[in-house]
Assembly symmetry: C2
Homo-oligomer: 325 residues x 2
């Protein structure tokens, strides 16, 4: 199977690079690079070395204009060869919202699209749905209410099968807003803002565990959610806290890197070296102490390396023969 | 001159400590410590080793009940021997607001209190005001509008004299809200929230330079100001960015430590080891990248060491014979 992987633009101030790529089986191959204003160069190969990915989207992604995030999901699912499942179960208007995404992916030109309109836990046993999950190359979880989504799908056999296929790299997964919130093992179900970080500022429960090592928050700076994310970090400092702005995507690659797409920022709080928290000693509404956290604010074209807790600007890697990724 | 320095409570889960202290000349001396539930112990001496301090208050400090922050300012200014100047020039109702603080410090029992109601730049030459500044032991800058405060006082001879006396440790200075915002060399004049960090999200100008190495934001988590503080950091990564919640105080000691008082948190963003920002390459409304920042969230009883960029819980130092401060 050969399909177009999409295109991208890179710039480093003195030069701009336009590149495109194709998929050949499971490997993405750079097929064209046009450099403007300076001599030829190469991109660190590891940036584009996998096909399936998990796209965690901060909600309100562009559905009308350039649609960068949705078209990236489509191309990473196989482009014109893609077989897509849309899961609108987080929404109280699943048919309408599912239909909207169906129209978009039809316009892009998918091979096959199906809305898995699961409104009842028993539907997870539907043989048609189960069969389609085996076949599909991309799964999209819409926005809505993450508690509703978990209520319908958590601990069902269809979700377990989706998780297996995602983890084995057989399918590309995307989730936006509520669909993003469920990605971690721990999930932010709700919370407040405009308060000092404190235990009662965030409601935590269990998510789908697609990327168990992260806790995701969405509509992040748009809804001023830093204090609630910090409150979540205090509960689970062993997880990487990730706040994703609207129309912004953290795309998790299978090699442990995260690429940033879209119009806003991705905020990463790493408490791996936290030297102190008072969490276990204070009341639920008392202010929290969290000493010695690492903070990254990433925007389009940045790359984060999960294991090494390092952030890079992709363009700074262009001429790096000793690519650190 | 001997005066009461105030009291404090420390606890480490297994024991609670009540202590009090007096000033003898310029040195604060621990005079009483009562430990409840465990054997006797000592406090790292350096915590209480100076008298004058700069209290940076996040606004809306308690003026009615226990008044922890205001009473600490009063005691660090000399307590019953204090000669206080209240500068209400940030406010559009300077007489009312100045009067309110005057009443509070009268209740505490200051030796002398004067409201320096400067409403015009020429008043900075008023011989009475100049004389009082030489005499006073504590200066309090009220809230209001930091641009108004700067417009009236920046580059006046009275402000220069205040700065000299503060820097030589002869006087304790406090500022709340607008009075806190002016403390740095760079000042946040205004800004927005609910957006990805971007250059246009914060308006920066020059402050009073009382603590030149910091950029202060106030009403911090209460008004969701993390994104604007990060935007400010990108402009001046060599400064320490400090966001102070309401009814919370970062008290800067002359030995380079910062003690936290009050009901909320103090958020510290240190960009000293920032590995990358796109600030100089992007448009004013484009999202910012800021890689590899250090973040501390501090609450009451925490201590921050400016030079070493380290945070401690004061109680963890109680039994530390090799006190790291």
């Amino acid at each position: 199977m050969i399909s177009l992987a999409g295109w991208d633009i890179l710039g480093n101030g003195s030069a701009t690079y336009f590149y495109s790529a194709i998929f050949i089986e499971d490997t993405i191959v750079l097929i064209a690079m046009l450099e403007v204003r300076t001599e030829s160069t190469i991109i660190c190969q590891n940036i584009l070395n996998t096909k399936s990915a998990i796209l965690v989207i901060g909600g309100a992604e562009d559905k009308v204009n350039f649609r960068e995030i949705l078209s990236t999901f489509w191309s990473r699912s196989g482009g014109s060869e893609s077989i897509l499942a849309i899961v609108p179960s987080a929404s109280r208007e699943p048919a309408v919202l599912g239909g909207r995404y169906e129209t978009i992916f039809e316009e892009f030109g998918s091979k096959k699209i199906k809305i898995l309109d699961i409104r009842d836990r028993t539907q997870s046993e539907d043989p048609q749905f189960r069969e389609y999950i085996e076949e599909c190359t991309g799964i999209f979880l819409t926005g809505g209410d993450q508690l509703r989504l978990c209520g319908l799908l958590s601990e069902t056999s269809i979700l377990e099968r989706i998780r297996q296929r995602v983890h084995s790299g057989d399918v590309t997964l995307a989730g936006t807003s509520a669909g993003a919130a469920v990605m971690g093992y721990h999930m932010i179900a709700g919370g407040g803002s405009a308060e000092s970080p404190n235990r009662s500022l965030v409601d935590l429960t269990l998510g789908f565990g697609m990327i168990p090592e992260v806790i995701v928050d969405q509509h992040f700076h748009n809804r001023n959610r830093m204090a609630r994310l910090l409150s979540a970090v205090s509960a689970h400092p062993d997880r990487l806290a990730i706040g994703i702005d609207e129309d912004t995507c953290a795309m998790f690659e299978r090699d442990g890197t995260v690429n940033i797409l879209g119009k806003g920022t991705v905020t990463i709080v790493n408490a791996g070296e936290m030297s102190y928290t008072n969490r276990d000693e204070v009341g639920t509404e008392d202010p929290l102490s969290l000493h010695n956290l690492k903070l990254h604010v990433l925007s389009r074209g940045d790359v984060y390396h999960m294991e090494r807790n390092l952030a890079f600007a992709k363009k700074t890697l262009i001429n790096d023969q000793n690519c650190p990724l």
